[in-house]
């Protein structure tokens, strides 16, 4: 019996995964508990202590929020912003990640770490400085300006997700396609992108999520002209009506859930085993 315990330890290289699972489950509970509370709150008209669940139910607040023109416009802006940022981030990140993943050059690790510098410079400091520059460039208060500023926190995570693919990427597939008569564009669309598919799905998910929940930079550069969902949410929090907060939080959580579902589908339907680390 002592030996079995030892074996389990050793087969996990000294780790047992169970404490980690428990810890993670606890975190989830802490995290989702309040959200569930909010949802219940949003749907309740009467909920008195010590009832476990609200006495009467309604989705009125939720529907009211959703049919509000201001909310609809914010949803549209947020989606457009997230979409454009995701696309741009992929276009910039793919070649960078390919180079960093495939090639070993001196100083490569340092470049990788510097990629993360943007995430540590306090956004307020950056934002204020950028605001001045963007004002001069006529980008302040415009969607284009917000897109650019979103790229700062988005790019590092996108590149990082894609490097994972290209570190294990085998250029032999492209060479094989070439000698079979495929030109550069055909190779890009029919070999490289399908092979990197799962990684691209994850990178796109990251880009969208980071952009979607951005608040400070949007506010600073958008200057009140670009209204996104997180800004409505913050306003509601300041307003203090729990039902409104809950309804907006629910709306806010929708698109990320859809994005996660899409990414999960892209990951599981692929039969590729190349560069598949996710």
């Amino acid at each position: 019996m002592a030996r079995n315990a030892e074996d389990n330890l050793a087969s996990g290289g000294g780790f047992s995964p169970w404490p980690a699972y428990l810890g993670y489950a606890l975190l989830y509970l802490l995290l989702l508990g309040p959200v569930v509370g909010l949802v219940l709150y949003a749907g309740s008209t009467r909920w008195f202590f010590p009832d476990l669940l609200p006495a009467t139910w309604t989705f009125e607040t939720f529907w009211r929020q959703l049919s509000n023109a201001r909310t609809q416009q914010a949803i549209g802006t947020s989606l457009l912003l997230g979409g454009v940022v995701t696309l741009l981030a992929l276009v910039i990140a793919l070649p960078a990640a390919r180079t960093l993943g495939l090639e070993r050059f001196p100083g490569r690790s340092l470049v990788l770490l510097l990629l993360f510098l943007p995430t540590i410079v306090p956004p307020l400091a950056t934002g204020m400085g950028l605001n001045i520059i963007f004002l001069r460039l006529g980008l302040a208060g415009s969607l284009a300006g917000v897109v650019l500023v979103h790229l700062i926190p988005v790019l590092p995570y996108t590149i990082f997700a894609l490097i994972g693919v290209f570190v294990r990427y085998d250029e032999g597939y492209e060479q094989q396609a070439r000698t079979l008569g495929a030109g550069p564009l055909r190779i890009l669309w029919q070999v490289t992108l399908p092979l990197a598919g799962p990684g691209i799905a994850v990178a796109a998910l990251f880009a969208f999520l980071v952009s979607w929940s951005q608040y400070v930079l949007t506010l600073l550069i958008g200057g009140g002209q670009v209204i996104t969902l997180p800004m409505l949410l913050f306003a509601a929090v300041a307003g203090g009506n729990p039902a409104t907060i809950a309804a907006l939080a629910l709306i806010f959580a929708g698109p990320p859930l859809v994005a996660i579902a899409l990414a999960a589908r892209a990951l599981t339907e692929r039969t590729t085993t190349v560069g598949q680390q996710y």
Binding site: Q175, Q176, A177, T179, L180, G181, A182, G183
Partner: protein, 353 residues
């Protein structure tokens, strides 16, 4: 179909001190199969990459039928390279993998379908069209990769150790399939291998490559039976070399006097070699024997390899039975008719200026 000429090819990879290829010239006749044989890292694969256009030479030229192809991009050379790894696209079915090259050429759908089926039959896997590559065994994957390479009717087919990751039985089977198909279609083919027996069995011509240079180039049988010099002889499995002056028909070798049949045309030191299967052992001396000591015996099924020492030197002798005891004194018979003359070690070709 296509005659290939490599002219003074020189290639050094970035951040590498030694050149991968050093002014290498070589010709491959149309319709024939040339095997490039040499140890790993000798530059064999680089030759294929240069022909395929995956790498560019630093100097030199490559011609198909007398016309330089260096200015043609890789995907228009009609030179298909098949790697050790099958590189089947995992997201495509077997049929779509085979069709890949035809689609790139813009061939119409109906033709593609019949061609794919014809190729599947040619490589002996007619019912695999709808499988995924992951569902195939290693040997099947290589067959599909071969079909994918052949379906585009390449001018030149290049095979980079395509069998070395396979089990011996599967390997032999696939070697025979490739040889049969190559002869049937008459495609000019270059096979890279580090397996002597594979090169001898498959090739019309064998080119020995060592450290980026061509060491010898001859038909398999000539190369095996009469390697021109020491380097080639070593690669053909010979490790018994005798040197010394020849007076009349007597070689004053490093181990003692021996009778020879072939006599060098010039005076001075001569270099002789003999294959291990032409040596034999006995307890009694004879006219052409040297005293030796048995070191060890290795049973190899169809023969026994006996290692004997003559002074400091250890030689391998191929015999039929392991009836020698280690440490015992024996006589090594060296039949004069199998001792053959080698060219003196050639002077190193001067480095490129």
């Amino acid at each position: 179909m296509t005659r290939i000429a490599l002219e003074h090819l020189h290639k050094t990879y970035p951040r590498q001190a030694a050149p991968a290829l050093e002014r290498l010239s070589l010709e491959v006749e149309a319709h024939t199969l040339l095997a490039l044989l040499g140890p790993s890292g000798s530059g064999k694969s680089t030759i294929l990459k240069l022909i395929a256009g995956i790498e560019d030479p630093d100097q030199g030229d490559i011609c198909f039928d007398g016309r330089s192809i260096l200015s043609i991009p890789a995907h228009r050379r009609g030179a298909v390279l098949m790697f050790q790894k099958a590189y089947l696209f995992p997201f495509l079915s077997v049929a779509d993998n085979i069709a890949f090259g035809l689609r790139a050429k813009g061939v119409n759908k109906a033709t593609i379908q019949t061609e794919v089926q014809r190729m599947l039959e040619l490589v002996g896997l007619p019912a695999m069209a709808h499988r995924r590559p992951a569902q195939l065994s290693g040997g099947e994957q290589q067959r599909i990769a071969l079909a994918r390479a052949l379906v585009v009717q390449p001018q030149v087919l290049m095979l980079d150790e395509p069998f070395s990751s396979l089990d011996p039985a599967v390997r032999q089977n696939l070697q025979e399939a490739v040889r049969r198909i190559q002869r049937e279609l008459g495609i000019t083919t270059i096979l890279v291998t580090h397996d002597r027996s594979e090169a001898l069995a498959m090739a019309d011509q064998v080119a020995l490559i060592e450290r980026g240079r061509l060491v010898a180039h001859a038909p398999p049988q000539r190369l095996y039976e009469r390697p021109p010099h020491r380097q080639a002889a070593r690669q053909m499995g010979i490790d018994t070399f005798l040197t010394g002056r020849v007076t009349g028909t007597t070689l004053q070798s490093q181990f003692g006097p021996l009778t020879v049949k072939e006599v060098p045309s010039h005076g001075g030191e001569a270099l002789y070699a003999i294959r291990p299967e032409h040596l034999s052992l006995g307890y009694e001396p004879c006219a052409h024997s040297l005293a030796a000591t048995v070191q060890s015996q290795i049973y190899r099924g169809d023969h026994v390899e006996v290692q004997v020492s003559l002074g400091e030197t250890v030689l391998r002798v191929r015999t039929n039975a392991a009836c020698w005891s280690n440490g015992s004194g024996v006589f090594l018979h060296i039949p004069p008719e199998h001792l053959f003359l080698l060219e003196e070690a050639r002077p190193e070709p001067s480095r490129l200026v």
